[in-house]
Symmetry: C2
Subunit: 317 residues, 2 copies
Amino acid sequence: MARKNIEDVRNVTCIGAGPIGGGWAAFFLSKGYDVTSYIHDQAEEEPLRRMIDTAWKCLEQIGLTEGASLDRLRCTTDLADAVKDADFIQESVPEILPLKQGIYEQLGTLAPVDVIIASSTSGMSMTDIQINCATPERTVVAHPFNPPYLLPLVEMIGGKKTDPEAVKWAAKFYTYTGKAPLVMTKEVPGFVATRIQEAIWREALHMVENGEATPEQIDIAMVNGPGPRWAFGGPFMTYHIGGGEGGMAYCLDQFAPALKLPWTRLEAPEMTSDLRNTLVDDCDDRAKGRTFSELSEERDAGLVAVAQAWKKLGKLT
Amino acid sequence: MARKNIEDVRNVTCIGAGPIGGGWAAFFLSKGYDVTSYIHDQAEEEPLRRMIDTAWKCLEQIGLTEGASLDRLRCTTDLADAVKDADFIQESVPEILPLKQGIYEQLGTLAPVDVIIASSTSGMSMTDIQINCATPERTVVAHPFNPPYLLPLVEMIGGKKTDPEAVKWAAKFYTYTGKAPLVMTKEVPGFVATRIQEAIWREALHMVENGEATPEQIDIAMVNGPGPRWAFGGPFMTYHIGGGEGGMAYCLDQFAPALKLPWTRLEAPEMTSDLRNTLVDDCDDRAKGRTFSELSEERDAGLVAVAQAWKKLGKLT
């Protein structure tokens, strides 16, 4: 299937007028696209536009692409009309499988056959969603993180009938727009980010349940401790820097025995030498020759930015 | 025991010249204190001063207290001399129990008896550390988060022989200096923040071990997804906002069944109505009447700050 050049995408159709659909519309508008929002009822237009106006204030501060304008948003209740000129479709209807399946059945014939259809679903597989779609090869899961106009993550995977090239095209398109696509190779429930969130959430619930900490104390610990570091580097890179000159290797060789400590209710995997080497090599590759002191200066620059923002904005506690 | 007024503290003694001891010294200097660093060997002075110089660049950007100066740092290899004029002592020697016990045995008689001695230990209990200390009532655990000159968290708890008033005084002092003390009521291994980190770390290791995601993918997910939110609000407040107008109550009533889903390898506690109400009440109290839209604007302002910092500084991936 010959697909459009990424750079030639002009019209993006966003299906759904909730916080995710509206957030995507705001994002694509900020990047200078013509956006058509499909709403299933005319009454949704006004709250949708209000939501986008609010998001716009943030997007202006981050910087709009030249030519970006709220005037380039069009709303319609006609699905055929919404997708007929689309170069890319982002679907964000409610998480009800029959509803999604019905929409993909219609889109399968209504949308130009070379156009990618991406679903914001957080919990369903494209294999299930595409079941009644006549052209399933161009349908992909592309799960954003709320709010989608501010957070770059898009977790992606195809369904059984999806052409892997369609996933690649969409990932390239998201990257082009400034998003951070994460293409999974296995369908794991919760993808990556939600699993991370759930691990913390469950540990936090256990602590509250056992009277070890209040929700407020847990929030205080997060915001003033690990949270700011994770805004700039993930857990692996954070430990790589935490290991000092020795990096991840030092960290693992020193602290792997701590995996046996009861520092969470989650059971740890065995730290085999294979697992150890995978982690060490991955971090070393990404450090791209930067020294410990360069990496920790980068980390600190991020933390300074957060501290400055705290001074100006406060914290949510 | 009559203790000094918080506002009258002038001299802070930092024991230990590693990244934690040095980080504390930089922090207290930036707040305008006279700082005495105890080093156990004269050769440690030069690397310690270099570390503090590096931290200083960050601290200047956040803003120094009037009168703060690097000239107010004094180093000594004489423990008695280091603590004789101290108004507060922050101990950060290596995590070796007999070493800590030995230091507290000496400090117990060397340090003025009304002065609080706080240990940066991340894993030992004050009950064990204070075992040979003649004046254990003023010894507390005060575990910072690395780097201590940038991250505000200080997790605190006393030992069996600690006077609860000593913990209170130290918490008040840390708050006065701009830190975020978290006073625990139970000695839980890993306190709060390390348990949170461990939960994520173990889930991440499982994902890598199972070939579900690479370390880089996990870091990408964190930095571009949940991380930036956690720099400004903890997991509970984040879900409270995620619940929209309905807040935490909506969130829990809607998503509690998801606790049964295999979204992490950590087993979830039962969502009893007691647990539910604890969470809901805690978030409602802290929202202090702010509406969903006000709270989400605050969250977004934080995310904008992170996005602006990303543009300027990049991310650690």
